[in-house]
Amino acid sequence: MSENILEMHGISKEFTGVKALSNVNFKVKKGEIHCLIGENGAGKSTLMKALSGVYPYGTYEGDIVFEGSVQQFNKISDSVKAGIVIIYQELALFPDLTVYENIFAGNEIKQGGIVDWNRTIAEAKKMLDKVKLDVNPETLVKDLSVGKQQLVEIAKALSKDVKLLILDEPTAALNEDDSENLLDLLGELKEQGITCIMISHKLKEVISIADKATVLRDGQTICTLDAAKGEISENVIIKNMVGREIEDIYPKRPNKTFGDPVLELRSWSAYAVHLGRQVVKDVNFHVKKGEIVGVAGLMGSGRTELALSIFGNPKFYKLQGELLVDGVPKTLKHPSDAIRSGIAYVTEDRKGDGLFLIQDIKNNISAANLKRVAVNGVINDNEEVKETTEYKKSMYIKASSLEQAVGNLSGGNQQKVSLGKWLFVGPKLLILDEPTRGIDVGAKFEIYTIMNQLIEEGMSIIMISSELGEVLGMSDRVYVMAEGEIKGELSIEEANQESIMQLATQ
C-alpha cells in the first residue's frame, strides 16, 4: 500500500457547458493535515463533492483511489462507509435534538431494531471527551454556540470511524478562541492517525496548521506546497491563488466623472437578532454619482448584510448610525421606502428571493414598479407588454416569448430579468450582489456592458462580488470587508488581487 491515503487522478467535471474541474490531481498522505485553497468558484467544493459521493461515480471523469483501491461511490453513505466524512460550512445538525441524538443520527445504536438510548448516551460521552467538549449530552444542539456545534459535528464524524475528515471552512463562523480550539483539536486528531483535509480562506490558519497545501484555480490544480520544505507562506499562496491575468472581458468606460455622494453611511452597524451577533460593524461608506464601487470580501464577510441593511432592512436587523441619500438623512423601514429613495437591490440569490419563477418575464420585470404601467391601480396590459418588451430587447434576454415562465430560462437570462426588474424602477443607485454568479462568460460581458451604459446615464452602482477579476475590472473604488467590518478602502490604482486578499483574509 502506498503511503497516500487518497489519490485523485485526472478528475474532470462539467455542469451544462461550464467546466468546473479539469484534470485535477490531488494526493493526500496518511496522517497529514492538507489544506485546499482557492478563490470562490475555483472548484474546491466540487472536488470534495466528487470525493464524498454527492456527485456519484460516473458523473465525473477520473479515478478516486482511497486506501489503495479505486472507489466507486454512488451516494454519500458509500463514502462514509469507507471512512470519509465531510463537515460542511452549513452544519448539518438537528437543532431541536439533543447532542447525543445528533451524534448518532443515521447511525443509531440498536438492539433488535430498538434504539438503546443508555448505550447511545454512554458512547456519546466518549466521543465528546475525544473532542474535548464538556457539555451534557442531553443539551439541545440549538442551545450550544456555533463553535461547540462544530465540535459536535466532529464527534459525530468520529463515531463513524472516520479515516479521512474533510472540513469545509470550519472556522468561517467562529470567533478567535473557538477557532484556536478547533485547530488544536485537529492537531490532536492527527496524532491519533486521522487524516484531515481542510478548505480554508484564512491563510494564517493554513500557515499555522497545514502540512501540505494544494491550490486550485479555475478548476485546475496549480501546485501543492509542502510545509516541511518551507514552501507555505502567505505570498506564495496568494500568488498561486490569483495568478491569472485579467482577461479582456471587462468593457472599458471612456470618461469617468464623479459627482456628489448619492449614498453615505456613517458609523453604520447592524445587529441580527435571530443570529445573536453583529453582522455589520461601524461601517463608513459612500458612493458618488457615476461611480462603480466594488465591495470585495469572502463569503460571510457581511457584504450582503450591509446591502440589506441599506435596502429597507428586510431582515429586521437592529440598525445604528446614519444613512444619507443625496446628503439627506433617511430612515428606510421597508424595501418600498428604499425604492422610493431611488435605491434598487439585485439579490445574490435570484431564484430564492429575486424572481417569481412561476410567473412570466413580463410580470417579473414590472413587479417592483407596476404604477409605471397603471392608472388608478388598473394595469394597462398593452402598455405593460410594450414597455417590458423594450427591456427584453435592450437587455438581450433570450426567450421564446415575453410570456415564458422565468423558471425555464437559463441562469444568465434569469439574471438579466432580475436586473431588468430593477431598471424598470429607474433607480439612481443600483446595488448588485454577485451580479454574475453562475452565468457564462458571454452573459457576463453583456451584464458588464449594461452596467457601463447605466453609469453613462448617470446611475451609481455598488457591486458586491467574490470574483476578484470582476471587482478589479469594473470598479472605480474598492471596499474590502471581513467580519462585518470594512477592513480597507482602495482606489482602483492601489487595488490588486494581492492587496484585496490580504485585507479579506485578515
Binding site: F311, G312, P314, H334, P335, S336, A338, I339, Y345, T347, G352, D353, G354, L355, F356, L357, I358, Q359, N363, S366, A367, A368, L370, K371, A374, G377, V378, I379, D381, N382, V385, K386, A405, G407, N408, K421
Partner: protein, 391 residues
C-alpha cells in the same frame, strides 16, 4: 388547414384552463342523458345555481387565501354565526334588511382582519389560527341561538336574496323578459369588450389570434350565455343569488387580473421573499386577502340564512371544506401563486352539479361523498400532471 392548426396549438397551450370547462361540460352532458334531460331543465339549473351561491362566494375568497399560501378554516362557522346575527338584527331588533346587510358585511371584514392579524402579525400558521376561529365561532353560533333555537326570519326583502328572482316586467311566451334583456346586454357587452381589446392590441402591433378563431370564440361564448339565459328565463329568470354571485365574480376577476393589487397578491403567493424585496407590503396583502375572505364569509352567511329563511344552530357546518374543495377543483395550487377566480366558480358549479345530478338519479349519500372525493382527487391529479408537462 391553417385554422385547424391554430386551434390545435391554442388548445394545447391552454389545456389546463380548458380542462375544467370540459369536465363541467362532460358532467352536465352525462347527467342530462342519464336523467332524460331533467338535469338541464330550467327549474333544476335554477335550483342548482341558487344552492351553489353560498359556497361559490366562499370559494372565490378561499382561492385568494390559498394563492397567498394560507388557508381559512373558520369561514364556515363565521358564515353561520354572522347569519344568525343577521337573523337576530332582523327579527329581534327590527333593523331593516338594507341596513342589516352592510352591518354584517362589515362585521365579516373585521373577523377576517383579525385572522389576518394572527397570521401576519403574530406569525401563527393560518391552519391553526383559523382552526381556533372555527371553534370560537362554532361556540358563538351556539351561544346566540341557544335560547331561541332556530330563528325564523320573516323579512320578505331579506328572504328574497336567497329565494327571490329579479322582476320580470312582462312574460313573453312564458319567458322572463328582463332576464332575456340582461342576457342580450351581457352578450353585447362581451362582444364589444373583446373587439375593443383586439383593436387595442392591433394598435400596439401585438400578435392576435386569426380572425376565424376570433369569430368562432365570440359565437361560442355568446351561444353559451344565450343558452343559460334562455334556460333561466324559462323558469323564473335570474335569481338574486345568481346576480350576487355574478357580481362577486366580475368584481374579483377584475381585481385579480387587471389591477396592481391583484398582481401583488399573486406576487406574494409565488415568492413572498421576492415580493418583500420588490417593495410589496406582504403583511398588507395578507390583511386584505383575509379581510376579503371574512366579508365573503359574511355574504355566504346572508345567502344561506336567507335561503333557509332562518338561522339554525348548525348553519355553516363544513362550508369551509366545500369551499376548499371547489377552489382546488378550480385549479388553485397550494404551492402558492396559482389560481383563478373563474376557476373557483367553475369548481363550485362542478361540485354542485355532481350533488344535484346524483340526487336526481337517486344515488345514496354514502356513494355521493365517495364520488365527489374521487372527482376532487382526479381534478388535482390532472392539474399537477399538466403543470409538470409545462414546467
Amino acid at each position: 388547414m391553417e385554422f385547424i392548426n391554430e386551434a390545435k396549438t391554442l388548445f394545447k397551450d391552454n389545456i389546463r384552463d380548458y380542462g375544467m370547462y370540459i369536465a363541467l361540460f362532460v358532467i352536465m352532458l352525462t347527467f342530462t342523458i342519464m336523467t332524460d334531460g331533467l338535469f338541464m331543465s330550467s327549474r333544476n339549473i335554477s335550483n342548482l345555481l341558487d344552492s351553489t351561491g353560498y359556497i361559490a362566494v366562499l370559494a372565490v375568497g378561499m382561492t385568494l387565501v390559498i394563492v397567498i399560501r394560507h388557508i381559512d378554516l373558520s369561514v364556515g362557522f363565521v358564515a353561520g354565526f354572522l347569519g344568525a346575527i343577521a337573523a337576530i338584527l332582523l327579527t329581534g331588533m327590527g333593523v331593516p334588511f338594507y341596513i342589516t346587510i352592510p352591518i354584517i358585511l362589515v362585521l365579516g371584514i373585521f373577523v377576517g382582519l383579525f385572522n389576518g392579524l394572527l397570521v401576519a402579525k403574530f406569525g401563527i400558521p393560518s391552519f391553526v389560527a383559523t382552526l381556533a376561529g372555527m371553534l370560537i365561532f362554532r361556540g358563538a353560533l351556539l351561544q346566540v341561538t341557544e335560547k331561541t333555537g332556530t330563528i325564523i326570519v320573516k323579512d320578505d326583502g331579506f328572504n328574497a336574496i336567497g329565494n327571490g328572482f329579479i322582476p320580470s316586467i312582462v312574460q313573453v311566451n312564458g319567458l322572463h323578459l328582463l332576464t332575456l334583456i340582461l342576457g342580450v346586454l351581457a352578450i353585447l357587452l362581451y362582444i364589444y369588450s373583446e373587439i375593443s381589446t383586439r383593436k387595442n392590441k392591433i394598435n400596439y402591433q401585438f400578435e392576435v389570434v386569426s380572425k376565424g378563431i376570433f369569430i368562432v370564440k365570440l359565437v361560442f361564448v355568446s351561444a353559451i350565455i344565450s343558452y343559460i339565459t334562455w334556460i333561466l328565463a324559462g323558469y323564473n329568470g335570474f335569481s338574486w343569488t345568481v346576480v350576487i354571485m355574478l357580481l362577486v365574480v366580475v368584481i374579483y376577476h377584475f381585481l385579480t387580473t387587471k389591477t396592481v393589487l391583484g398582481r401583488h397578491i399573486y406576487a406574494v403567493g409565488s415568492n413572498p421573499e421576492a415580493a418583500h424585496l420588490s417593495g410589496i407590503n406582504v403583511n398588507k396583502i395578507t390583511y386584505i386577502v383575509f379581510g376579503s375572505m371574512g366579508m365573503l364569509a359574511a355574504l355566504s352567511g346572508i345567502l344561506f340564512t336567507s335561503r333557509l329563511q332562518s338561522a339554525t344552530t348548525t348553519a355553516g357546518t363544513l362550508f369551509e371544506l366545500d369551499a376548499i374543495a371547489a377552489a382546488y377543483v378550480g385549479g388553485v395550487s397550494s404551492a402558492g401563486g396559482v389560481g383563478k377566480i373563474t376557476g373557483a366558480i367553475i369548481g363550485a358549479v362542478v361540485m354542485a352539479s355532481l350533488s344535484s345530478g346524483m340526487n336526481l338519479l337517486g344515488v345514496g349519500v354514502s356513494l355521493q361523498y365517495m364520488i365527489r372525493g374521487g372527482v376532487l382527487a382526479g381534478a388535482v391529479i390532472f392539474d399537477v400532471m399538466t403543470r409538470k408537462k409545462r414546467g
